[in-house]
Symmetry: C2
Subunit: 263 residues, 2 copies
């Protein structure tokens, strides 16, 4: 399989989708609620997924596609070549802020991440990686992450996980928040993952993510030495929702050991 050729195809597709989304801001957004107030989705979100599906099927009809909006077929295994796509990660930001939302795409073969992309649509900033070849932020190569102490770390975590919840012992998260140098929350998992792989954050934790939130990001992570697992320290389950942590390698296990206690 010619990954250089597939990478070129993927980038062209992403840049074109980004332009279509930016152009669409000149029209009114039609917003509907998918599952409650926290989960807005727009027509543009769906149209963008359909755009990706059509492009990929024209490129190679044997490739499978897992997409957030479910506009494609049902995929029950990661055998063969599989695209994992989130056309707009950070839909609330998309609707309310018109920034801080990402296109993110992973290309997997037999469950192994081969190509990964996180594209900040409004900034036109691309984070990407090719397995074994390295990772880039636009034209600059991303460096391997450098070790640091937990007290120096700035981590991405949503305030809701600091409150009592059904997933983890929030008292330990309080300890974590009070130990690190600072916390951030951007409302887009892909954005926070892009920040971790480029050293702008040192970890990002979430109690419930889907494969399309992280597919592209995990490929980039591997190339810069970031560790991405579920909160048990195991491989993230790419066929369902799971917990998630991505972190600088010097603090990944330490956070799991000292600050994460699943309920």
């Amino acid at each position: 399989m010619d990954f250089k050729q597939i990478d070129k195809f993927a980038k062209e597709m992403i840049f074109e989708a980004g332009k279509r989304i930016r152009d669409a801001f000149s029209y009114d957004l039609v917003i509907e609620t998918k599952s409650g107030a926290n989960d807005l989705v727009t027509n543009i979100d769906r149209q963008t997924e359909v755009f990706f599906i059509e492009k990929i099927k024209a490129f190679d009809p044997t490739h499978k596609i897992i997409g957030e909006e479910g506009m494609g077929e049902n995929v029950n295994s990661l055998d063969g070549p599989v695209w994992i796509i989130d056309p707009i990660d950070g839909t609330m930001n998309f609707v309310k802020q018109h920034r801080h939302f990402m296109i993110t795409i992973g290309f997997f073969v037999d469950g192994i991440g081969k190509l990964g992309y996180i594209f900040d649509v409004m900034r036109e900033d691309l984070f990407y990686a090719i397995e074994g070849e390295g990772a880039w932020y636009n034209d600059s190569r991303l460096r391997k992450l450098q070790p640091l102490n937990i007290e120096e770390a700035v981590i991405g975590i949503n305030a809701s996980w600091v409150t009592p919840n059904k997933k983890i012992n929030h008292e330990k998260i309080i300890d974590l928040v009070n130990t690190v140098r600072g916390t951030r929350s951007y409302g887009s998992a892909a954005m926070e993952i892009a920040f971790v792989v480029s050293g702008k954050l040192d970890a990002y934790i979430s109690m419930r993510l889907a494969p399309w939130d992280i597919g592209g990001g995990t490929v980039i992570a591997k190339e810069v030495g970031a560790i991405a697992t579920n909160l048990k320290g195991e491989h993230f389950d790419f066929l369902s929702q799971d917990t998630f942590i991505i972190a600088n390698p010097s603090i990944h296990q330490l956070i799991l050991d000292n600050y994460i206690e699943e309920i």
Copy 2:
């Protein structure tokens, strides 16, 4: 006093300072610790404040200046014309992320905010206002904030205020976090204020801010109808540190009444 002329002067000064900061990223940053790990300050921060002081003194030597880095004179009253300056708000972002930091400046006369600026240095995005004339985001006029319900609100709040602390009853903040649609945290008070005045966030709360963090923002707030006070609902004390909330007018009092209990 010719505020149009002072506005023109202020913008030129801010754009020039922004360019100097962007250029400085080609050099290594010399970082020192001001008061603990959470308060990094760089040479560029100080140099930028000195740049503003020299510009203002050349423009009108009778104007007083309050700056974060304390490079100017001691100012003990808001009588007459006073500039309130933060050369780099979000120093941790500045050092670690090379984005998400703001120049923010307010121009006050006898304690009344006349001109306000928040400049996203890396995006080259300017939020600004002239008292009584309106507010702008670059060339676009900012609209008055539209009413919304607390359940629809996205608010800026740092996770540390959701943990037990000496300022407020964190149990009520937990209620707030679980009531609103979402929370964000960007690590720059001025950025979060800029987001509130432009409707990208609906409120921003902090337990400890200084005059230079909010001076410019409060002038912009007034023009779009955002309410900015301390957590008692009183005027923020511009001569010392204070608590702070800025919010959409439809939820400002509701947040104070239902979710803020100072200890």
